[in-house]
Symmetry: C2
Subunit: 381 residues, 2 copies
Amino acid sequence: MRYSKKSIELHRQARGKIEIRSKVSLKTKEDMSLAYTPGVAAVCMEIARDKQNSYILTNRGSQVAIVSDGTAILGLGDLGPEAAMPVMEGKSIIFKEFAGIDAIPLCINSTDIDDIVKFCKLIEPSFAGINLEDISSPRCFEILEQLEKELSIPVFHDDQDGTAIVTLAAVINACRVTGRELGDLHVVVNGAGAAGIAIARLLIHAQVKEVVLVDTQGSLYDGRQGMNPIKQEIAERSNKLKHNGDLQSALEGADVFVGVSVGNIVTEEMVAGMNPSPFIFAMANPTPEIMPEAAFRAGACIVGTGRSDMANQVNNALVFPGLFKGLLQTGIKKITPEMKIAVADAIAGSIVPTADNLMPTTFDKQVVDNIVKALSGMASK
Amino acid sequence: MRYSKKSIELHRQARGKIEIRSKVSLKTKEDMSLAYTPGVAAVCMEIARDKQNSYILTNRGSQVAIVSDGTAILGLGDLGPEAAMPVMEGKSIIFKEFAGIDAIPLCINSTDIDDIVKFCKLIEPSFAGINLEDISSPRCFEILEQLEKELSIPVFHDDQDGTAIVTLAAVINACRVTGRELGDLHVVVNGAGAAGIAIARLLIHAQVKEVVLVDTQGSLYDGRQGMNPIKQEIAERSNKLKHNGDLQSALEGADVFVGVSVGNIVTEEMVAGMNPSPFIFAMANPTPEIMPEAAFRAGACIVGTGRSDMANQVNNALVFPGLFKGLLQTGIKKITPEMKIAVADAIAGSIVPTADNLMPTTFDKQVVDNIVKALSGMASK
């Protein structure tokens, strides 16, 4: 990869990407008496009197935990918690740069569902929210569901909902560019991991006409044997025509391909078999399901990938900074499907899209502001 | 308290005391590709290949977790994890200011020994060391013991060993000022919580002539009924004369009083009953066991307290920054009693002491350097 050597060198020289800084002075005995003992005792008592004071008298109010077990790192798979850390530090500096949020990477030494849930419950008093990252499917669904029930701070699984929201934003803007409507689209999602499931769920909620989710066994349909409960749920709620073939046949007559699977598995022939002028979002990393040139040759009118060095990057870094900033500002505890759609709309609305400039960049501060505004609107309802 | 209002105001304005900062630039698409995807994938693989690389390619190498359950906050007792946070943030900025260490406060929602041990095992991959704080006695002993066995990163309980080390440093310098020897001293330690137990253990190891540990029931002696196993251990190893009376009678004939108990429980009469020219370390916070003026009136020749606004502050902030810097630099995994004595010697040796200027200040950078040097010497043996 083009960036590999340079990236390793950057990390080695900086010794990682994050550090702690003090927000107060600590140069005199007086500083010490105010920031630490004896003065700090009064601050502790203020919080003991009312725990909500921890949000204003400590950094908790802008503090988020990034929790990962390292089982689904980027497209690399299960590399363990130590190896997940560079990704989490990357998320942390994105959180800080774009939303002013202090996100603490916590990569943990267990892949057990109960352990991860327990861990998040233990750290709740120190944080205003939890961002789950790179936890493999299907464990991630049960973990998120349990945490949403048991915690009183918001929990977000970026690989599920971050990807789903930014994908919906891309589809919305593809519609704007081409004058189509979500309600007319037949979408095939390939890959039934955390991202694929969440994308399917959100597209269904957004009233897309038809959603078909495809895994390595072919389309998910109601009645297919041997599916886990999460796939079963999607099968029941999607694929109204009960398509039961492979990806190639699933694509026949589809308007949109969304790939969150592996590189090079979509051919020009398969794209040519879709409805005229399809949207192709080939988001496998680092190699897309089909390269943009090939997709265009086969008739695609809009193509996006997950890569920063190609046009129309569909990147969940557009989602999580603004989303958490909004949650922290509004006090929203549970992220509903309506909120996810509002966030997708906010991202999509941050740019006047064209076919080769579909999405805003992460450097556009407007994106975070628009997401916060959208969530504020939801909170006040 | 004099500092209360000002301290609350400082915390409110700054919204706590710590924040995350990025150590790398994140202003361009190229920055993003190196610090995050796609470049970061190569960094993850370097660590997956050899986990030790996490110490140089992420911030782990200078990252310490401050873990507390909030059960023994300062002298305030069990106020819960949220209320512990201001103290932990205070430790964090002291760690950074004096040792360049990034310490992350993690105040957790359980007081169960197994939960706390499990929690520390879970976070091990993200940190180079763990600093336990304000966990009440006697649970703190079992937690530390289990963690020392089960973790491969160093663990330190500041309330035990930080206090013990700085107390030993104070006693050493009191000896230097007065021309006495540790081996001639009869020391009474009042208070058998985390600090008192650890102080007694370390003084015994430092070959002090006689140590008597006193709790609210009187002296601990071999044969006393109803003691927990930790107190039993100290009883067997100290108090050779099997003194079995109260604090007042324990002090008769003692050379040193060390108080880690509660305010105003030592009278002038009790000090007058000690051997001539005793050392009095009355470290209860915020009110000492006896005020310095009273102790001097009763014949004390050296007096120290825990307070920053009195002479001779005996403060464990002199210990933990340098100690962790030394552990991280040397790779020492387990802190032995010999190391604790070496650290106490290093602190004591950082100043030419006088009766009213016994201890170096936390602002003296020499202290951290001397501790690191002392530990480097131990590691190379």
